[in-house]
C-alpha cells in the first residue's frame, strides 16, 4: 500500500478495520501528541462489486444486492433503484403502494438515525448505555418491518410497479402506538444526550464545516443540512407520497457535530409525523401494478435521486433494451461524506479523542461507499 509520505516526527496510527469505532474501514491518522495533522481514509474493505453484479442480473433480482448496500437503511436503498427502473419502463405505481413505500422509507430512516445516535453517544464515552437503548427502540421498528414484509432487515419489499405485501389489518394502529412510544423515548434521548453538559462540551465547536466548505467538498444529507443548506431530495424531486404530505426540511446553522446530531434528531421527529399522517389517512386501492418479472426496458439513460438516511443517493441506469441493465452507476452518499471527513483535519483543529465523535457525526456506512 503506497500511502503518501509521512512528515518527520509524526506518528502514523492505523485505525484499522478491527477497532471498536472504525466500522469496516481503515483510517490512517498522522498524529503529533494529541493533535491530528492529516486523515487518510482507506476504503474498499467491503467492496463487493455491486455495479458489476447488477450487469448480469435481471431488474427484479438486481434489487437484492442493492438492498444490501446499506443494511441499516434498506428501504431507502432499494427505493432509488426501483424508481430508476420505473422511470425507464414508464410504469405507473398505484396510490396506496406509494404511501406504503413512503411509510417503510421513513421507518427505515428512523432506524438509520437511531444507529447514528447510538454510536454518537458511545463515541463520546457514554459506556454503551444509550447505544443499547437505541437497539431496544429499533426492535419496535423491526417488529413492524417483520410483520409487514416478513424480514427484519433486507426485506426487498419494493419492486418496479408496486409493493409486494399490503398492510396487514390492525397494522395502522400498531404504527400509531409505536409512534407514541418512540416520541416519549426521544425526549429521553434529548435529555440524556443533547442537554447533558459533558456531552455538549465534547460536541460543541468540534469539526466545524462552514457552508462554503460543505458545498465545495460535496457534503450531503445531515452533514450538509447541519451547515445551514436546506438541500433535501425528498423536496427537490418528490418521489412516492412525499409530495402530498406535510413535513419540512430541517437545517441547523451551527455547522458543528452538535448541529448534525440535532438535525438527525429533528428529522426523526419529522419522520414520526409522516408515519402518523400515513397511518391515519392512507388511501385504499390495489398494491401491485402490472407485474412482469422479465420485463424488457426501452434503451436509454435514466437518473433517479432519492434521499437516503445518509444523504442523496443517485442511480444512473443505462439500458440497452435487454432484460439486464447495461450499466448502473451508483452515487453513494457516504463516499462524498468520507471525503469531507478526510479534509476536516485541515479545516480545523482535531484531537485523537475527537476522531470517533467526528466519524459518527458524519455517520458513514462503509458498505454504501464501497458498493
Amino acid at each position: 500500500m503506497r500511502e503518501p509520505m509521512i512528515e518527520p516526527d509524526v506518528m502514523r496510527i492505523s485505525w484499522g478495520p478491527q477497532h471498536p469505532m472504525s466500522g469496516q474501514t481503515r483510517v490512517l491518522l498522522d498524529v503529533d501528541g494529541e493533535k491530528v495533522h492529516r486523515i487518510i481514509a482507506d476504503l474498499g474493505f467491503t467492496h463487493r462489486g455491486i455495479e458489476k453484479i447488477l450487469e448480469n442480473r435481471s431488474f427484479f433480482s438486481g434489487i437484492i444486492p442493492v438492498d444490501r448496500m446499506a443494511m441499516v437503511d434498506t428501504a431507502n436503498m432499494s427505493i432509488g433503484y426501483v424508481t430508476a427502473i420505473e422511470k425507464a419502463a414508464g410504469l405507473e405505481v398505484p396510490e396506496r403502494a406509494k404511501w406504503i413505500r413512503t411509510l417503510v422509507c421513513e421507518m427505515s430512516r428512523i432506524n438509520s438515525h437511531l444507529y447514528a445516535f447510538g454510536l454518537q453517544a458511545e463515541s463520546t464515552g457514554y459506556f454503551p448505555a444509550v447505544f443499547l437503548w437505541t437497539t431496544v427502540d429499533r426492535e419496535v421498528l423491526l417488529d413492524l418491518f417483520e410483520e409487514l414484509t416478513g424480514a427484519r432487515w433486507s426485506f426487498n419489499h419494493f419492486f418496479p410497479g408496486g409493493v409486494h405485501h399490503d398492510l396487514p389489518d390492525g397494522f395502522a394502529d400498531k404504527v400509531l402506538k409505536a409512534v407514541k412510544y418512540l416520541r416519549g423515548r426521544f425526549k429521553d434521548y434529548w435529555d440524556a444526550m443533547v442537554e447533558n453538559p459533558l456531552f455538549e462540551n465534547r460536541c460543541d465547536g468540534v469539526a466545524i464545516l462552514k457552508p462554503k466548505d460543505a458545498l465545495k467538498l460535496g457534503a450531503t444529507g445531515p452533514v450538509l443540512r447541519g451547515s445551514g443548506i436546506d438541500i433535501d431530495m425528498r423536496r427537490e424531486e418528490p418521489y412516492d407520497a412525499y409530495g402530498d404530505l406535510e413535513w419540512e426540511v430541517i437545517t441547523e446553522d451551527a455547522c458543528d457535530v452538535m448541529a448534525r446530531t440535532k438535525v438527525r434528531y429533528h428529522e426523526i421527529g419529522q419522520a414520526l409525523n409522516i408515519m402518523e399522517q400515513i397511518a391515519q389517512s392512507i388511501p385504499d386501492g390495489p398494491v401491485k401494478g402490472r407485474v412482469n418479472a422479465f420485463m424488457r426496458v426501452p434503451e436509454g439513460e435514466y437518473i433517479s435521486r432519492v434521499e437516503a438516511g445518509r444523504g442523496e443517493l443517485g442511480f444512473h441506469l443505462f439500458t440497452n433494451g435487454t432484460g439486464n441493465p447495461y450499466r448502473v452507476k451508483i452515487n453513494s452518499p457516504t463516499l462524498r461524506n468520507m471525503y469531507v471527513f478526510e479534509r476536516l483535519a485541515e479545516l480545523n483543529e482535531v484531537f485523537v479523542a475527537d476522531i470517533p465523535v467526528i466519524i459518527n457525526s458524519i455517520d458513514p456506512w462503509y458498505l454504501d461507499s464501497d458498493r
Binding site: 474498499g44 467491503t46 462489486g49 453484479i53 444486492p65 431496544v136 427484519r152
Partner: protein, 167 residues
Amino acid sequence: MTEEQTIKRAFDNIPGSGAAYNLIDFIAGWSRKYSIWPIHFVTGCCSPEFMQVSGSRFDMERLGVLPFASVRQCDCIMVVGVVSRKMALRVKYLYDQMGDPKYVVSVGACPTGKGPFHDSYAVVAVDDYVPVDIYIPGCPPRPEAIIHGMMLLQEKIKKERRIGVKD
C-alpha cells in the same frame, strides 16, 4: 511428539492421573464455555444484526459472550457479514494475533459461501483463509440463530479435550 503427548506420557504411571485429567478438562471446558469474548470486528452487511444480538432484547451476554475491543484478550472471531478480498487478509492477521484457544464463527451466508454475491469478483468465502468452527446460515441470520450458533460453539468447547492424547 506434540506437547500434550509429552505431558500425558510423563504422568501416565502415577495412579489417578486419568481422574486428574478429567477434572482439569471439566474445569477448563466449563470456564471457556461461559466466557467467550468475541472480537469487536464486523466485516460486512450483517453488522446491524450483530448489534441487535449484543443489544438489550437478545442479550448475548447472558451466555457470557461479551464483545471485547483488543485482539489479545479475545478468543473468538465472529466473522459477521460479507468478506471481501481486502478484508480477508485482515481476518487472517487477526486470527494469527489471537491467543491460543481460538474459535471462528462465520455469521451469515456470505462468509460461508459468498451468499447473494456468488458471482462477484471481490468476495471470498472465509474458509480459504481461517479454519471455521461454526457456520450460521441466513442473510442476515436472525438473532436467535446467532445465539443458537454460539450455544453450539459452547457445546463444542465443552467437549474439547485439552490435555492428554488427542484421539
